[in-house]
Symmetry: C2
Subunit: 388 residues, 2 copies
Amino acid sequence: MAFSKRVDRLKSSLIREILAAAQRPEVMSFAGGLPAEAMLPKVDWAPMPAALGQYGMSEGEPALREAIAAEARALGVPCEASQVLIVSGSQQTLDLASKLFIDPGTEVLLEAPTYLAALQAFQFFGADCIAVPQESDGPQLEALRRALERSTPAFAYLIPTFQNPSAVRYSEAKREAVAALLDEFGVPLIEDEPYRELVFDEGSARPIVSRLRKASWIYTGTVSKTLLPGLRVGYLIASPDLFPYLLRLKQSADLHTNRIGQWQALQWLGSEQYRAHLAELRDFYRLRRDAMQAALLEHFADLADWEIPQGGLFFWLTLRQPLDTRTLLDAALQRNVAFMPGEPFFVDPDRHPGHLRLNFSHVGPDRLGEGLRRLAAVIREALPAEAA
Amino acid sequence: MAFSKRVDRLKSSLIREILAAAQRPEVMSFAGGLPAEAMLPKVDWAPMPAALGQYGMSEGEPALREAIAAEARALGVPCEASQVLIVSGSQQTLDLASKLFIDPGTEVLLEAPTYLAALQAFQFFGADCIAVPQESDGPQLEALRRALERSTPAFAYLIPTFQNPSAVRYSEAKREAVAALLDEFGVPLIEDEPYRELVFDEGSARPIVSRLRKASWIYTGTVSKTLLPGLRVGYLIASPDLFPYLLRLKQSADLHTNRIGQWQALQWLGSEQYRAHLAELRDFYRLRRDAMQAALLEHFADLADWEIPQGGLFFWLTLRQPLDTRTLLDAALQRNVAFMPGEPFFVDPDRHPGHLRLNFSHVGPDRLGEGLRRLAAVIREALPAEAA
């Protein structure tokens, strides 16, 4: 039996394995990116029309597309409902974009670090990934220009607002500069924004796609982080030159997104109820972030450096004494603590040791200190004697 | 901007365009394969647990996997729940299988005719499709053996029970013979069974995968034809050597299938309520089939030959005077009649003129005769003068 060549590039997902280990109820997990169970909103299914049981359109439900386009326009993204494609969660946008752009050897531009599941999807289709170092306010611009001069990427994949894993929010200046560079080199942009609404500290963050003048673009979002991930409803908005291809790819992938979840998402988007829910969500997560910050200061002040995330779901720690954090996983899990090693978020993992991604939404404040205390102990034990 | 090479193979879907035209309420559509609206069951969402809003497992909901495995075992398919993967509708199985098996130039074995959307998916990934002629009781066995001797297909894709489009149900003897040949040549089987439960006339149809002794296999089904297509819940069952790959491909495609639809499907599968619903559905569709048969005899007796479908949703007509039925579409639509030309269901469409696929579930008996009368008139006008 012969498999396709791309199957050789199908990595066993580290996320999958860690999350499986973290399922044990005694484990304190800083590994995942799950919304807090307590903050899943109560939803009402009773008024849903029975006709939604029938096959639907590949594009998605017209009213939902309108609502999403209206929200995007309010953010400054110039678009019509006809540019909105409802997808089966944001991950599907990565699959569709990979199919659209990537042959074996196709160059793709990413941030370093970048979202692990995006990196894996692009590499699975054979992409040659080129990474631009991330700074606290966005990518290093000189490195970005150099990368654009030396390569011809099919697209740039960026997560400018509370990036997973680094929590970086691009500054206004970097948003402008990145847009100008992509226009200059004619490189399409995929802008991934799952965390936009999970903002704890004010700050401007107009999407980069709204600043483009020439380059093609895909803007992608989801209701998974703010409503219910189990619905599997995400969306993309694409420049008109890309949309027809993405629509046909969607049709070929799974015909259309489930209409039940689309209907529920429509009940919330743009409503007063949703605004109230988002406000509660931000308050809840802000408290958890602050508790995590306090516990980190107590247990990690001498071990690592980090910035306080202004949104999203993660702290990104940089160890002062770099070591391969993947080697810490077993010892941590033995003490019932799960975390996400930083190496797999890089194109060249072995050259980027010493980062940890810690989720702050899942573990309650009562167990937080104990979890971080144990994790710090695991790190101390792994450090060379003189360093510890 | 550069797209992937596979985008050159992305066909504008004829189905999509015809179905769009058929949306006009005045159109009598024999084109689609939609369940009759009147037969969509009433479903209750109230008892659904709120916890299903959270992210779920890529494999699918454990209880649903158990229920599907139990149903498959009752059909003779030797499997455990651990071999069941819940997918976002059966179309996704075609996407995952394509990713697993197909590189540009990979040979794939199909029936002629075969399911249009499968053919398009395989060709999109670059498959070199080899077709074996279909007879009224299954594939021509000599042609199948010859194809297996002359090529090395990555898999065979077969729809042995009420095939779309031909409505053929393989005989017992052909099921046995096909299984033996696939075992002999070591070719994996993808057995697609969306229509198994839509049976109007009794007859044995134990799945071919249950007869395999050595070859790897994927068995695929859906609740779309018998419950609610809008849920987007299908499933595959795979031999243990294939399952881990398909699971990782599913995770990379869209993380997991929506849990709302999975929960609803579980309420029905194996229940007394579902058995009663299926019985009603069969009675309803049997009446529609019989009405279509009567109307066809009235309007098409001199124009075409066909067999009475024992299940599924389609009649497959063969014109006595072959002509390219794609050229009839415009004239038919002008008279507010939609149908599906037969040519695109073949690997080499231009060499197989003269078939029409007619759905019998959608148009009610009151308009059926008028629709077929108009369609027959369109055909008569297109025939050479002496033949008409």
